[in-house]
Symmetry: C2
Subunit: 372 residues, 2 copies
């Protein structure tokens, strides 16, 4: 790798699934790996020491939000995000592109970037590849992302094509602008679920050349089979010795699907968001703790789980916390939901190394099938 | 003591201040001791393992709330509150009296108890001494409270006198009704800030006879000097070999004031409530973390504190969490505010044992004077 202090190696393969090892200046990430999302430099309701306890290896934070609050200057004064949020393991920041493009109504896509109104105070701003790089350099994450145009596969083809062109142009501008040698800059492939556009985007982004590649523009409303076909295509196209990041997947079955198609790392707000609504992953399907059937249930949340919540409390108590809107509910369910995904990917890694991933995938899909 | 598995001894005195040791079936409580409040069987935003880490010795829970949600039957099915909330140390439940009497408008005070509407669903209920005992027996706390009429000192004298009479009658009914030998039943003295009524109430409650006594009806709107004069009077009147509990005080200076007047244990929602509004105790006075002056403050919340929050994060980061309404703010500030009070009482105990309490009290009052 060209980035200083980084290395990536695929250690084992089982079909298209890969077990890899990413070395960063802040520690090693064994893949496949689920990355908890700490949008505003905090994984909601979870202390950093608890993330460590859960086995989290790398945490994601959002450039867009941190740019506005508290502002990059304050984060930089802490020596970057590691000092600010007190997570001493690897950190990944997104480019801000996803949030900016979500601001339909206020945004204007220009050739040099995107003009939009801040959700914080309505002020007008322009995000450009150069600003995305400068901001991410100041935030100081280990892994950073090129500024792209996240275009859903449901977009009309001419617009999708324009987004692919822009993403390539901006990727080159990002590579040009990026100067910190201790950060792994990741290129993002777009193109929705259009095979020709995906091929073109992959070729162009690989032409710019990055140490790691992300599959963007999926999990944003397209059909599930088209999404998976696109991930398979990416597995064919992307270099096999580089890290691959699927942006935004967090349900156990979906995770297994993308691991099976050669993805190494992925992130999602789902586990902590579900927790705040009183829902939990479990080996008996997804559980809604508001359900009255848990009122007198003295069993653990998930007998198969080894987290603090499952080792300690009954479903009855957790339901009480949820229905009474106690903060401890979100805390305990966040710990659990994150642990489920972290252990799932840890187990996936073992299965890949043992050549047993196909059986493992079937088992996970069965276990997490019920309750949707 | 008549309760099985309990003992209380005053080990040292310094003026009226006492260092004591309460033995319970769930462990020892060294006094003076601040008891965190877990209203609905959870100290808001704090995990029970963190309470242990903070040095919490005994946790309070509210009979009124638990009676309605989740209901005593469900708590009893867990073997009581210890199993339900997974706090294996001593637990104290209040009698429900304070909440019931707070329901002005819907409540009707009767000779046998209080009729009121539930805040949960508006249904009509009557709390009686007998029901308060049965409920607290089912909840299974170590220390339980007689059902009293909490009357503020601002009440007209005839009403205050009637409340003292009722409190005595109900105290006798509670003692008669209580049957669990492994619970310490505590009598409550009322009488507002009227010396004659306090004397009468103390004499009558001591006439009924309890292993421990609580000073009720203070910290509910009366003048500070009258409150303290009443605590001093209680120190003269109550037996010197029994545990004394002051209900509802949680600011550092107030705590020192009641310890100085012979109080052993006290509770308050203040530390966790302040935390949820973004405020912190500190040796530089109370801090409002919303204040812009903390935006770039890289120092710890309180350099004199040894809690996880102060050991780990900057004021700047904590302010970011508070202003962004992140749940982690309430979590980290709750840990800190509780730790401040727990350490304060631990230090008070050492000072009493060393005969240095007067100096200690002056020091605390100076340190916590600023910022109010």
């Amino acid at each position: 790798m060209t980035a200083e202090g980084f290395a990536f190696a695929v250690e084992a393969r089982d079909g298209a699934a890969r077990a890899g090892r990413l070395t960063t200046p802040h520690g090693v990430v064994e893949t496949p790996c689920f990355m908890p999302v700490g949008t505003k430099a905090t994984v909601k309701a979870v202390e950093p020491r608890e993330l460590r306890e859960l086995g989290a290896q790398v945490v994601l934070a959002n450039t867009y939000h941190l740019f506005f609050r508290p502002g990059t200057e304050i984060v930089a004064a802490h020596g970057g995000l590691h000092g600010f949020m007190q997570w001493d393991g690897p950190i990944l920041t997104d480019s801000g592109g996803f949030q900016v493009f979500s601001l339909e109504g206020t945004r204007v896509v220009r050739d040099d970037g995107v003009e939009f109104s801040s959700v914080y105070d309505g002020s007008r701003h322009v995000f450009t590849p150069e600003l995305a790089m400068r901001t991410q350099e100041e935030l100081g994450a280990d892994i950073i992302m090129a500024f792209d145009q996240c275009a859903p596969g449901t977009l009309p083809r001419p617009e999708l094509e324009a987004s692919v062109e822009r993403t390539t142009r901006w990727a080159a501008a990002c590579k040009e602008a990026h100067s910190r040698p201790d950060q792994l800059l990741t290129g993002i492939v777009q193109g929705g679920v259009d095979e020709a556009l995906r091929r073109r985007s992959a070729a162009e982004i690989m032409g710019v050349g990055f140490d790691a590649y992300a599959i963007g523009g999926l999990s944003v409303g397209e059909r599930g089979d088209k999404m998976l076909a696109t991930v398979e295509l990416m597995d064919d196209l992307l270099p096999h010795d580089r890290l691959r990041y699927f942006m935004g997947i967090g349900d156990p079955r979906g995770i297994v699907d993308v691991i099976a198609r050669g993805v190494d790392v992925f992130d999602c707000v789902l586990p902590t968001r579900l927790a705040r609504t009183g829902s939990a992953f479990s080996s008996a399907g997804r559980l809604n703790l508001r359900n009255a059937r848990f009122a007198a249930d003295l069993g653990p949340l998930d007998p198969a789980c080894d987290c603090y919540t499952c080792r300690t409390f009954t479903r009855s108590y957790l339901r009480h916390l949820v229905t009474q809107k106690e903060m401890l509910a979100a805390q305990l369910l966040s710990l659990h939901n994150l642990r489920v995904l972290i252990r799932l990917t840890k187990d996936a890694r073992m299965a890949i190394r043992a050549g047993l991933f196909a059986d493992f995938a079937i088992d996970v899909k069965e276990r997490f099938a019920a309750g949707g």
